[in-house]
Symmetry: C2
Subunit: 250 residues, 2 copies
């Protein structure tokens, strides 16, 4: 990626891995709150979040000592602290570029507008789409207006939901306009200057990772025959190992 995570000296230096889990904890905490649960132990919270309790406690300890020994964590208080740490106590206007199937899905995604984020605009380059309403009260604007929207509404987070070919161009314009955080759904590696944060969501990469594990499970260690020309044999060093099948081990 393009950032040094916790190298910054002034900041508290919360590990990147912890940051990535805080949103999960936060979601679980909201669920607890809705159910009227006032206090949770690290064990309970960890189970609901799908992590181990030591990890959860260490994660939370980076924010401060917000638990009570012998009792657990106060749900509401922790919600507030985690939200604050993540910067969700302020509202983040977001611009979505690309109003295709995905852009529309995003615009209609409830959790979007819910906590901390607000869709400032959905833009598209296709004239036939501009002007149509794709979500309640959300009319697609022209992507010519990227700079204008970013500047006027103080957008610092952009979502790219365009075809791959258009992504880098859109990215460049977003960055030039002042956006410093980008969520990229297009299947390309974006090139950005230092100081801009990019996260990618890539369906096909996720599927390929799943395919790898699925293959390993079915363990059809194919003889790798169809080798074609090139450096024929190469005799893969330690290929043999047939042992690793059962992933279980309870």
């Amino acid at each position: 990626m393009s950032r040094r995570p916790n190298a910054a000296p002034g900041s508290q230096g919360i590990p990147e891995a912890t940051i990535a889990r805080l949103p999960v904890y936060l979601r679980v905490l909201y669920t607890c709150a809705e159910q009227g649960i006032a206090t949770v132990s690290s064990e309970e919270l960890a189970a609901a979040a799908g992590v181990n309790s030591a990890k959860l406690r260490k994660d939370l300890s980076h924010l401060g000592s917000y638990g009570t020994r012998g009792v657990g964590y106060d749900v509401d208080y922790l919600v507030y602290q985690v939200s604050r740490e993540l910067g969700l106590t302020q509202d983040w206007p977001v611009v979505i570029v690309g109003a295709g199937n995905l852009g529309r899905a995003l615009a209609n995604y409830g959790g979007f507008a819910s906590r901390g984020f607000r869709i400032a605009a959905v833009l598209d380059a296709d004239r036939t789409v501009v002007g149509t309403e794709i979500a309640a009260g959300q009319v697609v604007g022209s992507s010519d207006a990227i700079e204008e929207v970013v500047a006027e509404r103080g957008v610092s987070i952009g979502v790219i939901a365009t075809p791959a070919a258009a992504a880098q161009g859109v990215c460049d314009r977003l960055v030039a306009a002042g956006v410093t955080s980008i969520l990229n759904f297009a299947p390309v590696v974006l090139n950005v200057p230092a100081g801009v944060d990019v996260r990618k969501v890539d369906l096909s990469i996720e599927l390929q990772i799943l395919a790898f594990h699925a293959q390993r499970r079915s363990d059809v260690r194919v003889p790798a025959s169809g080798k074609r020309q090139y450096r024929g044999g190469v005799a893969l060093p330690a290929l043999a190992g047939s042992a690793g099948e059962s992933v279980t081990a309870p």
Copy 2:
């Protein structure tokens, strides 16, 4: 996450972190191939993939010694080797549950059917959606047929694109029917038995991670209640190290 992947002793034990990057390399390699490039160096490939070259070389070394010293890697040969490692030399039928905005976006996603994956079915619980054609030749089926589809078509990868409330139920049914790999787009932590692999794609988590970094960037100035201030981030003098980042020349 429940069990460890490369804890298996006999297996080749390719690090999980490496697996997660192979699809990126593969994509870049395809791009090279399309452009008629026959050979790439680790430096070039790494730049295009947005990683550092030592990491790329180490990653590839886990697959075997497929490069030529003093020259680089043969593009076609490497494409084949990476594909084989990821299990993409076989075809994976995938079932998508949920034909809402997101399900439709997925069904229309080109890269889906392209390499290694095939949509076996798109299912939904809503009777008014069942029977409609959401993509070329893709008619939505009833989610009553989950078990049937999985069994008949030998599906081992399922994609959950339902509302949060329905996700766990769908997941349980997929798993019971024999699916062992799940890609979850619903904002919930899925509970699965050991041996089932779940990957999640969660928009709001990604946004929250971006918000954290965006906040930190703007916090460089005023503490507390500091309104957004795009563009301020460039300061970060101590971040120096960012010299030769993944900035590829265009």
